[in-house]
Amino acid sequence: MAAMDETNRRRTWLRWMRDNAEPVAFTKADLRAALDACDDWIDANQASFNSALPQPFRSSATAAQKTLLFCYVAMRRRGAAMLRVEEDD
C-alpha cells in the first residue's frame, strides 16, 4: 500500500482540522508536516507491522484487512467514542 499522493494528503489534512475539537498550539503547516511524516512512517514500516502479525492471519488476510485492523486498534486506543460498537451501548 503506497504512500498517499498530494491530493489525499491534503484532504486528510483538511479532515483532521475539521474533526479536531481539542486545542492546538501549532499551525496548519506544522500539522501538514506531521501528517506527511505519519504517512511516510507507515510506508516505511508496513513490512515490520506485517511481520508482527501472527499466523494464520498474516498470510490469509488481505492488505486492506490488515490496514483496517491497524486503523481500528489505533482508533479504539484513542477512545471508545472513536470506534463505538453495539456492546458499548
Partner: protein
C-alpha cells in the same frame, strides 16, 4: 464630523450558494456563543446588506470579532468587498451586480488563550462609487487556502460592524 457605525449580526448573514461557513452554537460555561465557523482549508463566504445612510466620504471599515475554535497561534486571512447601487439612479441589474476589488487583511492570533476574542479592522478602499443612501452588499470571506493563512482549525465570526464618516 461623526462616524456612522452599523452593527452586522451573524444571524442575518446570508451564506454563499456554495462554500459558506457553518453556523455554530457553542455552549459556553455560562452562555451560548453563536457564530459562523470559517474553514481553514478553503474559501468560505457570507454576505450582509445595508443602506449606507448618511455616508459622507472616505473608506469603509469592516470591524469583525472572531475567535479560534481550537488554535492558539497562526494567521487568518480575511477578505472583504462591497457592491453599491444607488436606487433610482443606477440602472445596473441587481442580480448581475459585481463586487469591487476585494481587500485582503491578515489577523494574527494573539496567543495565551486559544478561544480569546479578536477584533480586526478590514479597511475597504475600493468603494464602488459609494454614495449616501446606497444599498450596499458586503462580502466577507476567510481565504483559508491562501499560503498566508496558517491558523489550524476554524475561525468563528461573532459579529461585525461597518463604519464610515458622515462628512
Amino acid at each position: 464630523m461623526a462616524t456612522v457605525r452599523i452593527p452586522l449580526s451573524v444571524e442575518e448573514a446570508q451564506p454563499a450558494t456554495s462554500g459558506f461557513p457553518q453556523p455554530v452554537r457553542n455552549a459556553g460555561s455560562n452562555f451560548v456563543i453563536s457564530g459562523l465557523a470559517f474553514d481553514a482549508g478553503s474559501t468560505e463566504t457570507v454576505y450582509f446588506k445595508r443602506r449606507l445612510a448618511g455616508y459622507g466620504s472616505g473608506n469603509l471599515t469592516l470591524n469583525i470579532t472572531w475567535y479560534a475554535d481550537t488554535a492558539s497561534s497562526g494567521v487568518v486571512r480575511w477578505s472583504a468587498a462591497i457592491a453599491c447601487i444607488t436606487p433610482n439612479t443606477d440602472s445596473q441589474d441587481v442580480e448581475t451586480k459585481a463586487f469591487a476589488t476585494s481587500t485582503d487583511s491578515d489577523d494574527t492570533h494573539l496567543g495565551t488563550t486559544g478561544q480569546r476574542v479578536h477584533g480586526h479592522d478590514i479597511v475597504i478602499s475600493n468603494l464602488d462609487s459609494a454614495a449616501a443612501g446606497d444599498v450596499a452588499w458586503i462580502r466577507l470571506q476567510r481565504i483559508g487556502g491562501n499560503a498566508a493563512d496558517t491558523m489550524a482549525g476554524d475561525a468563528i465570526l461573532l459579529e461585525a460592524e461597518l463604519s464610515y464618516s458622515d462628512t
